[in-house]
């Protein structure tokens, strides 16, 4: 085929797996993959691109778990974003009528209790 891939022109690179170091070509997908960053439960991101229709809270305001924070309109649907835990609004990153992309940081909450990361979370089972 005439259209040689870009990767063909690139030099062989080292790729280590299971103790062996292979000489091979790396794909664009592999080279552009992002490293994993652990989620901060206090940071609330948009789960869909859309528009901020209404904001119910202010910086510094105390919120209860499940309290309405804002409405994110996307695909003609009014999505109500609620507080995942009780805490204080540390910072509001968006304002009414603002258009946001997916995974955009909307609000940061300072939790009342320190929420441990999922790794070290202890699960208590209560027995009746």
């Amino acid at each position: 085929m005439e259209n040689e891939n870009k990767e063909d022109k690139q030099e062989f690179q080292k790729f280590t797996l299971d103790g062996y170091t292979y000489k091979t070509l790396l794909t664009k997908k592999w080279l552009s993959h992002k490293s994993y960053v652990e989620k901060d439960p206090g940071k609330i991101h948009s789960f869909i691109p859309g528009t901020i229709l209404k904001v119910f809270v202010k910086d510094g305001q105390k919120v209860k778990k499940g309290e309405q924070l804002l409405i994110l309109e996307a695909m003609k649907m009014h999505n109500i974003i609620t507080a995942p835990m009780a805490g204080k609004i540390k910072k509001l990153y968006v304002s009414t009528a603002e258009r946001v992309a997916n995974k955009h940081l909307l609000i940061e909450i300072e939790p009342d209790e320190i929420v441990e990361s999922s790794k070290s979370k202890k699960i208590k089972i209560k027995r009746k």
Binding site: M1, N3, L17, D18, G19, T24, T27, K29, P49
Partner: protein, 515 residues
């Protein structure tokens, strides 16, 4: 009226209908670098073999002054013909007629020719070039799409279905090609997407061109929606003609047998194209070429998930489906995309009685958070499923590495391969020597005066003992360790002796593959 007059009247009517959208619209089509629908059919089929039906079909829309409009053939051309003598049913959307938009009668013409193809048990080729649903026809155009999807599904695995995207194919319309077996695209002409750049811009504020969103290159390289990429319509038609020569008419037949040809073993000498050191790269396609008729390998999805290679070739004139790890790219690992690519191809070959040959050389599955989170468990399982499910002759050659889960997945004896061969360079083990030695000799390494020295020594010992094909051969998991230069001989013989293979499966409505 005399017969002559009646015939003249017919000719006149035909002449009008054959003009499609008229000179101006045709000019526009040509200016876009595209052939007209009728030109495409003629270029693809054998000369004078095309017979058109439903030329006089008229659209049935009554709202929005549509009743005053005449749309010749309602924007789609349907008929039968032959490709290299093979009968096919074909439809081609005519972009010059109302932008090839799909209305009720347009869809009826397509479903009619689809029903024909299913009944006649011959391949169906669809040439897509359409602006989408004909909005004036409302729910009727939605109904039309649904009727097409339903038939695509019924025909799946019964007759070969080929989609050729020669223009826009957007919105719901693009699900018809997605349901078919092979999708052909042409650079700068094909555009496929569910929501186009305009919708994306209004809803999300993201700007992207049609080409970058769903052009031919994107569909071939990134999404894997397309199977064949061509620079021009002519090249695309040549690819279709070639594909048709490799596949059978329907699922009750075998692909046509061609005259035997020997491979070019001078150009593809194993000792020159194959490094024995498992860390060195090589192009596994050359190994395929060293074994098959005329060294001719017709690759499918060449640009997508290049760490696995799939495609057709012939052994003694008979079509074979090849699946091979590609050490040239990402050391040949299995990942989400390569699993999807291989699994679908295996199912295709199984559905259409095409024996499978698997060449194994992989270090295992690709590690990474993104792979795990993208569902490599679910996607990787598709390979296990499709190999286990397949009842066509299954022959495996292990070339070099076959470690852990990768060894099992690549059509091992345990997934009921009929014949498993290994080259003397094969290394079959539960995991790479390095990792295995670290686990097995953990305490010895830790207790040693010089742990690093001890570790190295233990790895060496493990390699010597287990990094070979003979341990697996001792258990009968491998039928024969063979001289690489005799691979073709072994393949041909095993295909020959499996030609009447009949393997029963438990009765069921259908399985539940990990989609």
């Amino acid at each position: 009226m005399s017969l002559k007059q009646k015939t003249l009247d017919l000719k006149k009517r035909m002449q009008e209908a054959l003009q499609g959208g008229g000179a101006q619209a045709i000019e526009k089509q040509v200016a876009m670098g595209k052939k007209t629908a009728r030109e495409r059919i003629i270029a693809l089929l054998d000369p004078n073999s095309f017979h058109e039906y439903d030329l006089f079909v008229e659209h049935s829309a009554k709202d929005f002054d549509m009743e005053k409009k005449i749309l010749p053939g309602d924007g789609v051309i349907t008929g039968t013909g032959t490709i290299s003598g093979y009968p096919v049913c074909i439809f081609a959307q005519d972009f010059t007629v109302a932008g090839g938009s799909l209305g009720f009668m347009h869809a009826r013409k397509i479903t009619k020719i689809m029903d024909h193809a299913i009944k006649l048990k011959i391949p169906l080729i669809g040439i897509n070039d359409s602006g989408g649903a004909r909005i004036q026809e409302g729910v009727n155009s939605l109904a039309g799409y649904g009727d097409i999807f339903y038939r695509n599904t019924l025909a799946s695995g019964v007759i070969p279905q080929i989609s050729v995207i020669l223009g826009p194919c957007a919105g719901g319309a693009v699900y018809s090609p997605a349901l078919t077996d092979f999708v052909f695209v042409v650079d700068k002409i094909s555009k496929m997407f569910i929501t186009g750049p305009e919708v994306i811009k209004t809803v999300l504020g993201e700007e992207i061109s049609m080409e970058a969103l769903g052009g031919a290159r994107v569909q071939s390289e990134v999404t894997g929606n397309a199977h064949f990429f061509a620079e021009s319509e002519e090249e695309c038609f040549d690819q279709i003609k070639k594909l048709v020569s490799f596949i059978p008419w329907n699922n009750t037949k075998k692909a046509e047998t061609f005259p035997k040809k020997t491979p070019n073993t001078k150009a593809y000498k194993i000792k020159d194209i194959f490094p024995t050191d498992p860390t060195q790269p090589y192009d596994v396609r050359n190994v395929i070429r060293s074994m098959v008729d005329n060294s001719e390998f017709f690759e499918v999805q060449e640009l997508f998930a290049r760490n696995i290679v799939i495609g057709f070739a012939r052994l003694n004139g008979q079509t074979i489906g090849f699946v091979a790890n590609q050490p040239l790219v990402l050391a040949g690992v299995l990942d989400v995309d390569s699993s999807d690519k291989a699994a679908r191809f295996i199912r295709y070959c199984d559905a259409f009685n095409i024996p499978l040959v698997t060449l194994v050389d992989l270090p295992g599955y690709l590690p990474g958070v993104d792979q795990e989170h993208a569902g490599v468990i679910r996607h990787g399982a598709k390979i296990l499923y499709s190999y286990s499910e397949a009842t066509v002759p299954k022959i495996t050659i292990i070339l070099r590495k076959a470690y852990g889960g990768g060894y099992i997945a690549m059509c091992s004896r345990h997934l009921k391969a009929d014949f498993v061969f290994a080259w003397p360079t094969a290394e079959i083990a539960v995991m790479g020597p390095e990792g295995a030695a670290n686990i097995i000799f953990r305490s010895e390494i830790a207790a040693a005066e010089n742990p690093e020295e001890m570790r190295k020594q233990k790895v060496k010992e493990y390699k010597k003992k287990f990094a070979n094909p003979y341990v697996a051969a001792a258990y009968g998991y491998i039928d024969a360790v063979i001289d690489p230069n005799e691979s073709r001989k072994f393949l041909i013989h095993s295909i020959d002796v499996s030609s009447h293979k009949d393997e029963a499966r438990p009765l069921k409505k259908h399985g539940i593959p990990p989609f």
